[in-house]
């Protein structure tokens, strides 16, 4: 569903991501791990078409900047950005109208209930806490019923209920055949559902781990620290 081929991104002289290739298939959860500055957010923004890059990125076979790709891609940014003067419900209405969705209201209601935002639908963006803003951001991304969802640090700032719901939503999306790409620092949070993990270091893929192919007695965390802190993964 998401294909990244030989993608590099430079900021002036600084090479933020260096010739990265990866693929995320439908019904798969792919995790991006890496220390701060490894290039995870840059890669995600490139996939979402928010940055210029060298290489090729497609979503369901369409160029990631095409309207066809945008229509089936959902994105939850690292820092939720809401419009201060729009209500929670108007954020969803705006997305529905911008994407020309039909019959979206029942799904909007369901998402608001699921994330305990039902009683906040008339609250303005600027009146929400960071955690609630993050939940609205997730609702906006899911309202379009995307075939591929990219989440950049989705659990940061959420309360325990929010974390549980996001994890449940991720499991549901995966079950429904959605391709998921998630960047996180919380390795254990994706332990139950991950299929593939790419460990990034200094803009490059330092290791690719597939579920069921980990060395005996090793966890994802062991491999991560072995790579990022100078050791050698077995």
């Amino acid at each position: 569903m998401i294909t990244v081929q030989n993608v590099s991104k430079r900021y002036g002289k600084f090479l933020a991501i260096d010739n990265i290739s990866l693929a995320v298939n439908s019904g798969e959860l792919t995790v991006l791990l890496g220390p701060n500055g490894a290039g995870k957010s840059t890669l995600i923004k490139s996939i979402c078409g928010l940055l210029r890059y060298q290489g090729t990125i497609t979503v369901d076979g369409f160029d990631n900047r095409s309207t066809q790709a945008k229509r089936i891609l959902g994105y939850v940014p690292e820092m939720s950005v809401l419009f201060p003067a729009l209500t929670v419900y108007e954020h969803l209405e705006f997305i529905a109208r911008a994407y020309r969705l039909h019959g979206w209201a029942p799904l909007a209601d369901e998402l608001l209930k699921r994330f305990e935002l039902d009683d906040k639908r008339q609250k303005l963006g600027k009146e929400l806490s960071k955690g609630m803003q993050q939940k609205v951001s997730v609702c906006c991304a899911l309202l379009t019923k995307p075939k591929a969802v990219i989440l950049d640090e989705p659990l940061v700032g959420l309360d325990p209920h929010g974390i549980r719901e996001i994890k449940a939503v991720i499991a549901d999306l995966k079950h429904d055949g959605c391709a998921l790409l998630i960047s996180t620092h919380m390795i254990e949070s994706m332990e139950e559902n991950w299929d593939a993990t790419y460990i990034l270091k200094e803009g490059k893929i330092a290791a690719v781990c597939k579920r069921g192919e980990l060395p005996r007695g090793k966890t994802l965390e062991d491999i991560y620290f072995a790579i990022t802190e100078g050791g050698i993964a077995e």
Binding site: K45, L50, K70, P77, F83, A85, L86, F94, A98, R100
Partner: protein, 526 residues
Amino acid sequence: MTPLIYLVRKSVKNTVKSILKSPGKLALWLITVAMIAGTVVVSLFTSANRAPGAIAPLFWFTGILFLFITLFVGTSVSKGLSGGDTIFEMSDVNLLFCSPVNPRKILLYGIVKMAKTAFLAGFFILFQATSLANFGVDYGGVLLTFAGYMLSMMTLLTVSLVIYSATNGKPRRKLAVKIITIALFVPLAVFAILQYLKTGDALATLKSVITSPFLAFIPVAGWTASGVTALISGHTGAGFLWLGANALLLVVMIAYILLSNPDYYEDVLVATETAYEKKRAVAEGNINAANASRRVVKVARTGIPYAGAASIFGKHVRESFRENRFGLLTLPSVLIAVGGIILAVIFADISILLFSLPWAQIFLIGTGRGLKDLYSHYIYMIPESSFKKIVWSNMEIIARTLIENVLMFGIAGLILRANILYIAVCIVVYTLFSYLLLGVNYAIMRYTGADVSSGMLLLIYYFAVILIIAPGVALAVIIGSITGGETAFFLGLFILSAWELLAGTVCFMLSRGVLHNCDMAMMKTK
């Protein structure tokens, strides 16, 4: 060496070092200094060559300065009643407030920082030599205006802090402050009404109001306007008296804080935290949070009209009507329109606005929601064509500019009984100038990806606008002067508007694909 002196010394030293190390910042400062020097030189020539009849009476200057500072009086009182004003930074709260340094000394340190803020806030006055020369004010007068403005800003910052300290959690006191503030202006308003009833002449009334003692007695705004005017006119005694009153109020307010409430930390905390949150939002590139006002908004009508790219305009309209008291018009745009009308009436010609207001418009165009949308991901990810999204996301600022211009030129033109065609041409020229500014903004975004510091971006934008508009202005002046006669001015304006349309369109064409083929804009504060 006390820690506070160390802090001030190191901060100044590191600021200078960072400017010297950054070519962009250094260029910005050098250009600013060169521009101030250029303004001084130009003002010397323009003052010397100005015919006595071409100089507007000085009382208009008093009125404008009074109005300008009155705006800040309102803002300060309002801030004082809500969260106080910002004189400290979060680093001061976290490191200094918790340290065993005497709170009184910390307050003095805050006042030094406040002076720096006031100095930077009034910097634009130093560029106003040409405008102020219209009132016969030389560069010495400009410096006096700058000093008076700085003093009033420092006083108002302290007044705001005192109001917060005295009224926090006390609704009755808040009400009392509101009543007192309004009461200060009541004598002037009553005097104005009586004068108008007596003379029936709006301009004569305005003149007698500005020169009346009722204006001069209004704290801070009246004192500063009258004091600066008196010093410019050579009435040193009166000048020092009014500005001295201002300085005395500042000293009394500081003394009040020091003697009555050395435990002022809590009073400055809310404003400092709010300012810090905004700074952090800017640093993180969250322009929406950075621009969010603290004003409580009552949600009445809801919903987003239109579909596809047009929904961006629908969203902007909903946001504007919710955030602004005047619908699509913002408070600054209303103030500029009112100021423009007054300026046109003073000089008895609406075309003066075409020469004096574009400088403000260069910066005000950035307040449009379309340009701000470039800093968040939504507009990039909406599955519509880049062109449609750009068009619809700028409808709000175009509509706002058009309404502003129709009101400003229309009302001023009606008062001055100007030709309808003349008013229409002025509206077209000024509106197309905004169109050109938008085009330049997008072209710069397209080619820099906003991947430079905000200072450098501003510099590039400023010079790009001057370079792009210059041929149009030159062409208009040359052809106008060759043609001569009554039609020359109309022809010149027509050529200028055609150039603005052409250049703006070229800029938009150059910026094609800005939403699909360039990096999402990021705010760079350094």
